[in-house]
Symmetry: C2
Subunit: 347 residues, 2 copies
DNA sequence: AACATGGCTGGGAACGTTTCCAAAAAGAGA
DNA sequence: TCTCTTTTTGGAAACGTTCCCAGCCATGTT
């Protein structure tokens, strides 16, 4: 690879002049400019990023940690991040959870890997870290941002969505459609944001006179397979219900798959609603009614805040994004439901 | 950030000694070792990656170009790449298509961005590049690998799957199940791998006496929305058919969504098969029969080949991976199909 | 003619490592 | 005690940039 010295030699100029042409800063006579440009072209010179990083102390790289890239929740977020960073001339380095340890250990290792790599800033998307882990990251010094989870000790750098409101809206929507016998597939109890949304969901039902203790509630791992098995268990239990709330879309999609297989018609016999409004909800069969979480706004504002603190910018940062319901075919009014919930039809 | 000089000073040793402790190469007396280790600990010293890169000429970074991160096709591949690289102590830098230009222009820019960044090697996943674009990449020098597409000028560095066999197997499977009136939703005609699979599919049908000219064939953009609209168009056309072949799973999932909405029972009234066997096929409603492409093996071997050429390793590299059919509920034998294809049921 | 002004230019220093090489220290054998 | 070998140590050089400073040359001013 040609260096700037080669360029200077070929063009017959000094290092300083060559550097001025490359960076575009400082004055250079037109004739020299042309000569150096020609040399750059001839040698296919590309400035070494490592040298620049070493000198400037800034790698122009942002690290992103994501526990696992399955499902469709993280993909749009990653896409947004990359687009924004590219537009700012920055690069995205991604680390997923890897290795043998548990999720928490994986997160710690993955983040350490990113820090070691000299990232200017970090975007973390994990909810398995503890406050003490955050404290252990001496890196913290304002150069990181957490999406979709909130740490008390880092509140200003956390960008999350209102899961309490989300859970409540899910409940409200079902109540408004006349449902009172509602089954629930929660996510892992170890994930705070899941707990918040499910509790808010149940609270809202309770506030409207539903005896939540009698509801069928189970817990799965946010995967389609989990949703499928939960749906099967629910049907096998013959617990009466007219609607099913899944704490994320992935599980709802899995549940829909089971219901189709078992011949249970959604939403005629059973309404299903999800949570997140991921791309997979749009073309499920039937299309899934789901709580639209403003992850787009959340991501965008998180990026803005991070870039502000890393590069002294003044990008706008707002908080408190609207949560809405995306109404699709998987939800029907209980009155419309022609048949009782548990009635099976032979496929 | 503490530098190795700070460590040396605090420990009261020379730079060389400090460096030896950090890298673990060269002999150091036990007493000194302990002293330097203590200093490293005290200062929370982390070697600068930029300085190492500058000196060694190797960034330990692998760039990955992916046109767009939507759907579930690329996600498992990315996950595999990251896991492998991490295990090898390397880092993954990802670039997606971005900017205003067309797909080809975006790919060229994205790849240039990665090269400029000093990646040791590149993994490219795009099928919109032309031979001339590849030729223009002077980087080519063996340090890159192409997945899921083959360039004549770069055959040794391309890792792809047998789309001709894939297309044929899809056809064979439908024929074996008694289908002869088959509709086809192809992908973009601009993508060579799509053309190969669809042509092979049609060829196989033709070889078995099917008049392919009379088949209903359309072209979409590999998206669920495309599959949905194609399914609607097919139904509206009332063209007789007992099965639908979609050139990727995403479109098949979209089609299933439409069929559910329109009250067309799959597979009883119409069988649907997809292509790729992405995760989204496993829990669709109904579960999707699809051509299982060995993208896992393809990716793994591509990575191995790249690391071999970048770091002089001897990882095993093989070619020619088995294509299989993943049989699921969306396919039924034509004999079993109770009703003619186009019969609508009021939802 | 002497002098100030400003545009251009060249090269040294620094960024934080690692890799040498030479020198010092420590053993080992006679 | 002396010499020979081996281990341990310190520091210069290099990697490829950019930044800064000093010097050069052509103009314009007095």
């Amino acid at each position: 690879m040609a260096t700037i010295k080669d360029v200077a030699r070929l063009a017959g100029v000094g290092l300083g002049t060559a550097s001025r042409v490359v960076s575009g800063k400082g004055s250079v006579s037109p004739a020299t400019l042309a000569r150096v440009r020609a040399a750059i072209e001839a040698l296919d010179f590309r400035p070494s990023h490592a040298a620049r990083t070493l000198l400037s102390g800034s790698s122009q790289m942002i690290g992103v940690y994501i526990p696992v890239l399955s499902g469709t929740f993280y993909t749009p977020i990653l896409q947004i991040i990359d687009n924004e960073l590219r537009a700012a001339g920055l690069h995205m380095v991604v680390a997923f959870g890897a290795g043998l340890g548990g999720a928490r250990q994986q997160a710690i290792e993955g983040i350490a890997f990113l820090i070691e790599r000299g990232c200017d800033g970090l975007i973390l998307m994990t909810n398995v870290l503890q406050e003490e882990d955050i404290a252990a990251l001496r890196f913290q010094h304002k150069r990181m941002v957490v999406l979709n989870h909130s740490f008390d000790s880092l509140a200003g750098q956390c960008f999350t969505v209102d899961h309490m409101l989300g859970g409540r809206m899910a409940a409200r929507t079902l109540l408004d459609h006349g449902h009172r016998e509602i089954a629930v597939v929660a996510g892992p109890a170890s994930l705070p944001d899941n707990v918040v949304r499910v509790n808010a969901f149940l609270d809202e039902l309770r506030a409207n006179g539903v005896d939540t203790a009698s509801l069928w509630v189970t817990e799965r791992d946010f995967s389609p397979a989990g949703g499928w098995s939960a749906a099967k268990e629910l049907m096998d239990s013959k617990h009466p219900c007219s609607a099913l709330f899944c704490a994320n879309d992935e599980m709802a999609v899995g549940a829909l798959s089971y219901f189709q297989e078992a011949g249970i018609r959604v939403p005629h016999e059973l309404s299903v609603i999800g949570y997140d409004d991921t791309p997979s909800a749009e073309f499920s069969a039937p299309r899934l009614t789901t709580v639209h979480m403003p992850w787009r706004e959340m991501t965008q504002n998180g990026i803005n805040a991070l870039l502000n603190s890393c590069y002294d910018l003044q990008r706008p940062v707002t908080r408190g994004y609207p949560v809405t319901m995306t109404l699709r075919a998987s939800l029907a009014s209980h009155a419309e439901a022609a048949k009782p919930a548990r009635r099976r039809k032979p496929a």
